[in-house]
C-alpha cells in the first residue's frame, strides 16, 4: 500500500524526469533545471531586467552555441567512459584551415564548411583509432591531440590571425532573413516558436499514446497538461523575446544549428541501437562485449563524432569572431566537460544525457553572462564557476552516498517520515527511532566507541 501512494505522490516529478530521458540520472537533471531557473531569476532581478533582454539573450546564444555543441559530443564521450581534452585545439586547427581555404584558396564557403567537417572526421578517426584499437587511454590520446592540433593551428597560421569572408559569418553571428508583413516582431522567429510549440504538443501526445500501447501506468492527465502549459509558456515568452529584438535580428542561426543537433543527438542516444551501445560500453564494458556489442567500434565512433562536432564548433566560433586566430578554443574542453558533469553525467561513465548537459552548459553560460552584466571581473567569475561545478557534483555524490539517489529523494523522505503510522502497524510502546539527544542516551552511545 505504501508503495502505491508513494508512486502516485512522486508521479509528477518522475514524469518531469522523463523529459530528460528517464533513467537513473533524471532526478539530478530536474534539480539542475531548477537551479538554472533560479539563477536566471536571480540575475534578472540583480541586473534590473538586463538578463532577459532580447539583445542580451541573442548574445548569450551566440556566445555559447559552440560550447554547447561541444557538450553534446562530450557527454557521449563521457558516457562511453572516456574524456576528450583535444576539442579546443581541434576546433582551432579546423578553424584556421577553413579560414585559409576561403581566404587564400578562394574556396566557396559551403565547400569550406564541408572541408572543415572532413578534417574533423579525419582527426576523429586518428584519435579514435588510438583509443579504440590500440587501447591508449583517451586522456592520453587527447592530451597529445591538444598539443598536436594547437601546434598545427599556429604552424599553419604562422601564429597570426586569418580573416574570413562575410558570407561565412552567418553560421556564427547571423540571423534568419526577415520576410512577410512588418508587425514589430521578427516573422521567422515567430514561425520557429510556433513550430517548436506544435512539436512539444505532438510529442506529449505521442508519449501518452505510447504509454497506453505499452499498458504501463500513465501519469495523470493533469501532469501532462501542466507540463505542456509550462513548456508552452516558456516557448511563447522566449519567442517574443527573441522576435522582439533590434530590427534585423531574429533567433540566431548558431542557435538553430545547436537546436537541430540537440534534437538529432537526443534521438540517437535515446532511441537507436548505437545510443544504447554507448551506454552499455560505459556502464559495463565486459558485459557489453559479452552481449555482442562491438565495443571497439563504439569507442571509435564516439571519439570520431566528438572531433567532427569540435570542428563544427570551431567554424561557428570563427564565423562569429570573423577571423581565425592562434588562441581560438583555449579552455573550451574544460567548459564542455564542466557542462556535462553539472548536467548529471557520471565520471565513471554509463550515465548522462544530452539535454542534461545542455542545461548544465546553460547554467555556466548564464552565470558567465550575468556576472559580466553585473561588472564582476573575469578573475572572480572563474572562482564562482569553479565553486558551482564542485557544488553541483558534490551535492550529487553526497546524496548518492546517503542512499538517496537524488535531491528529489531527499524531499520525499522528509515528507514521508512524519507519518509512519499509516501502514507500519507498529506497536505503540516501541521506543522512538528519532535520536532524542537526552544526556543519558548521548553518553551511552559515545561510550561504545572507545571499546
Amino acid at each position: 500500500m505504501s508503495t502505491t501512494t508513494q508512486q502516485k505522490r512522486s508521479g509528477g516529478l518522475r514524469e518531469l524526469g522523463k523529459m530528460f530521458g528517464g533513467g537513473q540520472s533524471s532526478g539530478r537533471q530536474v534539480g539542475i533545471l531548477g537551479a538554472l531557473v533560479v539563477i536566471v531569476v536571480i540575475f534578472q532581478i540583480a541586473t534590473g531586467g538586463l538578463t532577459l533582454d532580447p539583445t542580451n539573450l541573442i548574445n548569450l546564444v551566440n556566445q555559447n552555441a559552440y560550447v554547447l555543441i561541444l557538450a553534446i559530443g562530450m557527454v557521449m564521450v563521457i558516457i562511453a567512459g572516456h574524456i576528450d581534452l583535444s576539442v579546443g585545439s581541434v576546433a582551432a586547427f579546423t578553424g584556421i584551415i577553413v579560414a585559409t581555404s576561403m581566404n587564400s584558396w578562394n574556396l566557396p564557403w559551403p565547400l569550406a564548411i564541408l572541408l572543415g567537417l572532413v578534417i574533423g572526421a579525419l582527426i576523429g578517426a586518428w584519435q579514435g583509432w588510438w583509443v579504440a584499437y590500440v587501447g591508449v587511454p583517451a586522456f592520453i590520446v587527447t592530451l597529445a591531440g591538444m598539443l598536436i592540433f594547437r601546434g598545427g593551428n599556429q604552424f599553419i597560421g604562422n601564429s597570426a590571425t586569418v580573416p574570413v569572408p562575410d558570407a561565412f559569418t552567418i553560421i556564427g553571428g547571423g540571423f534568419l532573413p526577415d520576410f512577410g508583413p512588418d508587425i514589430g516582431y521578427s516573422n521567422p522567429t515567430l514561425l520557429l516558436g510556433l513550430a517548436v510549440a506544435v512539436v512539444i504538443v505532438i510529442q506529449e501526445i505521442r508519449v501518452r499514446r505510447t504509454q497506453t500501447r505499452m499498458g504501463s501506468e500513465k501519469a495523470p492527465l493533469w501532469v501532462s497538461i501542466v507540463k505542456i502549459v509550462i513548456l508552452l509558456g516558456i516557448v511563447v515568452y522566449a519567442t517574443l523575446l527573441f522576435a522582439g529584438g533590434r530590427i534585423g535580428t531574429s533567433f540566431p542561426v548558431s542557435g538553430i544549428i545547436l537546436g537541430v543537433l540537440v534534437l538529432v543527438y537526443s534521438f540517437v542516444t535515446r532511441n537507436t541501437t548505437f545510443g544504447r551501445h554507448i551506454y552499455a560500453v560505459g556502464g559495463n564494458w565486459h558485459a557489453a562485449e559479452l552481449s555482442g556489442v562491438k565495443t571497439k567500434r563504439i569507442n571509435f565512433f564516439v571519439m570520431m563524432n566528438m572531433s567532427v562536432l569540435a570542428s563544427l564548433a570551431g567554424m561557428i566560433a570563427v564565423a562569429r569572431s570573423v577571423a581565425s586566430g592562434p588562441g581560438d578554443g583555449v579552455g573550451w574542453e574544460l567548459d564542455a566537460i564542466a557542462a556535462v558533469f553539472i548536467g548529471g553525467a557520471a565520471v565513471s561513465g554509463g550515465i548522462g544525457t544530452i539535454v542534461g548537459s545542455i542545461v548544465g552548459g546553460l547554467v555556466i553560460a548564464v552565470l558567465n553572462n550575468g556576472l559580466q552584466l553585473l561588472g564582476v571581473g573575469v578573475d572572480r567569475v572563474q572562482i564562482i564557476k569553479g565553486l558551482v561545478l564542485l557544488l553541483a557534483v558534490g551535492i550529487d555524490v553526497y546524496s548518492k552516498r546517503q542512499g538517496r539517489p537524488t535531491l528529489r529523494g531527499l524531499l520525499r523522505r522528509n515528507r514521508k517520515n512524519p507519518s509512519p503510522g499509516d501502514q507500519n502497524a507498529v506497536p505503540i510502546e516501541r521506543p522512538s527511532v528519532a535520536p532524542t539527544g537526552s544526556a543519558e542516551e548521548t553518553s551511552r552511545s559515545q561510550s561504545t566507541t572507545p571499546n
Partner: protein, 514 residues
C-alpha cells in the same frame, strides 16, 4: 553482564528503503560462542540485516535496538562496529589484489608510530595470524597470486587482527570448492572454541546443517522462526520449508527428457592462457550436445570449465590455438561474440554482476541488450516492443519487480539471474551455456531456475550447465562431462553417476576417451 549467555540481540529491526520495506520487526538472538546461521531466500532481508548490524546503515536510518554484550549499540559506521568487535566479511572480498597479504591484513590498522609503519612487527604478526587460520604462505605474496579460498582465509586473519568477537560471514563458501569450503568451515568451528561467535549467511544448506548451532529463518523481511539445532536437530528439508513457507516436495524438477540428435559438437579444442603463453588452459577437448539435452560440466575451480565455455563463445577468453566447432553437421566460425549470437549460442556468465549485466541499466533495456536488432527498425529501437518483450519475460520467468523500468541493481540475486536468463532467451539460442546459473541464489529461486532450464530443454534447445554443486548437476543434467586441468576426463550419463564418481574424475589425470 558476563553471565549473560547472549552476545547479541537485535530487537524489532525495521528498515525501509523508498517504496520497499526491507525488514519488518526482525529479531534475532545470538548466544556467545555459537555459530548462528541466517537462512532465507534472496531478497528476504538477510544482507540488509547484517548491514544494519555492522553499521553500513547507521543508527537512525532503521528502527529497533541492537543489544551487544549487554549494551545498546548505536553504530554510526563500519569502524564503530569493528571497534566493538563485530567484523563482517562480505561475499565480494574486500582485499586489494596488488598489495601483499601483510599489507592487506593491516590495512587501515597498521602497526607503527606516527604514521610510519613498522613492517617487521607487521610481518611477524601476519605470520602468526596466518598460522591461526591454517595458512603457511609467505606474507609478502600479493593477494592476486593466491586463490579465492586462501583469500577468504586472509580476510578472516584480518578480522582476527581486529580482535573480533562476533564474525559475520556473508556467503563465505559461495566461490570456494569443496575442499576449501571444508577447511573454512573447520576454521569457523575452531574459532568458536576460542570464544569467537559467528553469524553465517549461506545458501548451502548442507553446510549450515553441519556447522550451525542455531538457525534463524527470515522470509519477506520478517523473522519466521529460530531453530535450536543443538537441542532439536534439523535437516535440509526442514530449513527449506521455513524459507519458502511450504514444503518443497522436490528441489529438482521431475522431467522426462526427449533427447534428440547431436547438433552441436566441439572437436579438439585447445586454448592458451591470455598472458602466459606456455600455459594451456583447455587441452584437446571434444564434446557433443544433443537437442533437448542438458549437459553438465563438472570440475573444480580452475579446471578450465569457464575458460572452455568462454573461448567457444566468440573467443571471449584466452588465445585460440586449435579446434573446430560443428553445428547441425556444418563447421561454423565463432570469431567474436556477435558471430556466436548469430549462430544461436548464448552464454550466461558465472559472474552476473561484472560480466552479465550493466548494473546502471533498467530491466527492460537489459533484457533486450543482446539482440537489439530484433526489436529495431533500421537502427531505431522500438520502445513499445521492448516493453512488451520485457513484460512477457517478467511474467513467464516470474521476475519480482513492480515494473520493468526498475534498475537491475535494485533486484535480488535470483531476480537478476532471471533477467540475465531472459536476456539470453530473447536471442532465441539453440545452445545455452549456463555457467554456475544458481550461484548465490536462494533455494526457491534455484528450483525456479532448474524449471526454466528443463523447459528450455523440452523446447528442443541444447543446454550446457557448468556447476560446482554436484547434486544440482546430477539432478538437472542428462549427461555429465568432468574436467580436470583443462582436459575432459569422463562422459557419464547422470543416471549412472554419483557424487563420488564425479569427484574421482574431477581429480584424476587420466583422460577417458569415448
Amino acid at each position: 553482564m558476563t553471565a549473560n549467555p547472549t552476545i547479541l540481540e537485535m530487537r524489532s529491526i525495521t528498515k525501509e528503503f523508498p517504496g520497499v520495506k526491507a525488514l519488518s520487526e526482525v529479531s534475532i538472538e545470538v548466544k556467545a560462542g555459537e555459530i548462528h546461521a541466517i537462512c532465507g531466500e534472496n531478497g528476504a532481508g538477510k544482507s540488509t540485516l547484517m548491514k544494519v548490524l555492522s553499521g553500513v546503515y547507521p543508527y537512525g536510518t532503521y528502527s529497533g535496538d541492537i543489544i551487544y554484550q549487554g549494551q545498546e549499540m548505536r553504530f554510526k559506521d563500519i569502524r564503530s562496529s569493528e571497534h566493538a568487535g563485530i567484523v563482517i566479511i562480505h561475499q565480494e572480498l574486500a582485499l586489494i589484489p596488488e598489495l601483499s597479504i601483510t599489507e592487506n591484513i593491516f590495512l587501515g590498522n597498521e602497526p607503527g608510530r606516527g604514521g610510519i609503519i613498522d613492517w617487521q612487527v607487521a610481518k611477524t604478526e601476519a605470520i602468526g595470524l596466518l598460522a591461526r587460520v591454517g595458512l603457511s604462505d609467505d606474507p609478502d605474496t600479493q593477494i592476486k597470486n593466491i586463490g579465492v579460498g586462501k583469500q577468504q582465509l586472509v580476510e578472516i586473519a584480518k578480522a582476527l587482527n581486529k580482535s573480533v568477537k562476533l564474525l559475520i560471514l556473508d556467503e563465505p563458501t559461495a566461490a570456494l570448492n569443496e575442499a576449501d569450503s571444508q577447511h573454512l568451515l573447520d576454521l569457523i568451528r575452531g574459532l568458536k572454541g576460542k570464544g569467537v561467535s559467528s553469524i553465517m549467511i549461506s545458501h548451502k544448506l548442507n553446510e549450515i546443517e553441519a556447522v550451525a548451532d542455531s538457525i534463524t529463518i527470515i522470509r519477506d523481511g520478517k523473522t519466521i522462526e529460530t531453530i535450536d539445532v543443538v537441542a532439536n536437530g534439523v535437516n535440509e528439508d526442514r530449513i527449506i520449508q521455513g524459507m519458502v513457507g511450504r514444503v518443497l516436495e522436490n528441489r529438482f524438477p521431475e522431467h522426462e527428457s526427449t533427447v534428440g540428435e547431436v547438433f552441436f559438437e566441439v572437436r579438439n579444442w585447445t586454448v592458451q592462457h591470455p598472458l602466459t603463453t606456455e600455459r594451456l588452459v583447455v587441452k584437446n577437448s571434444s564434446f557433443t550436445v544433443r537437442r533437448g539435452e542438458v549437459v553438465g560440466f563438472a570440475g573444480l575451480m580452475g579446471a578450465g570449465r569457464t575458460e572452455l565455455a568462454m573461448s567457444i563463445f566468440g573467443r571471449s577468453y584466452g588465445t585460440y590455438l586449435s579446434g573446430r566447432v560443428f553445428k547441425d553437421g556444418k563447421e561454423i566460425q565463432l570469431r567474436n561474440v556477435s558471430e556466436a549470437i548469430d549462430h544461436g549460442i548464448a552464454y550466461v556468465s558465472e559472474d552476473r554482476k561484472s560480466l552479465g549485466l550493466n548494473l546502471l541499466d533498467d530491466i527492460k533495456r537489459s533484457i533486450v541488450s543482446a539482440k537489439l536488432s530484433k526489436i529495431s527498425k533500421g537502427s531505431v529501437v522500438d520502445k513499445v516492443a521492448e516493453h512488451t518483450v520485457a513484460e512477457r519475460f517478467r511474467t513467464s520467468l516470474r521476475i519480482k519487480t513492480p515494473t520493468v523500468d526498475e534498475g537491475v541493481n535494485k533486484l535480488s540475486g535470483g531476480n537478476q539471474q532471471k533477467v540475465v536468463l531472459a536476456k539470453w532467451m530473447f536471442t532465441d539460442p539453440d545452445l545455452l551455456i549456463l555457467d554456475e546459473p544458481t550461484r548465490g541464489i536462494d533455494v526457491g529461486a534455484k528450483t525456479e531456475i532448474y524449471g526454466i532450464i528443463r523447459d528450455l530443454a523440452a523446447q528442443g534447445k541444447g543446454i550446457i550447465m557448468i556447476s560446482s554443486e554436484l547434486p544440482e548437476l546430477l539432478g538437472v543434467s542428462d549427461r555429465i562431462y568432468t574436467i580436470f586441468e583443462g582436459t575432459i576426463t569422463a562422459d557419464l550419463p547422470s543416471a549412472e553417476a554419483d557424487p563420488e564418481t564425479l569427484m574421482k574424475n574431477m581429480t584424476s589425470k587420466r583422460a577417458v576417451s569415448r
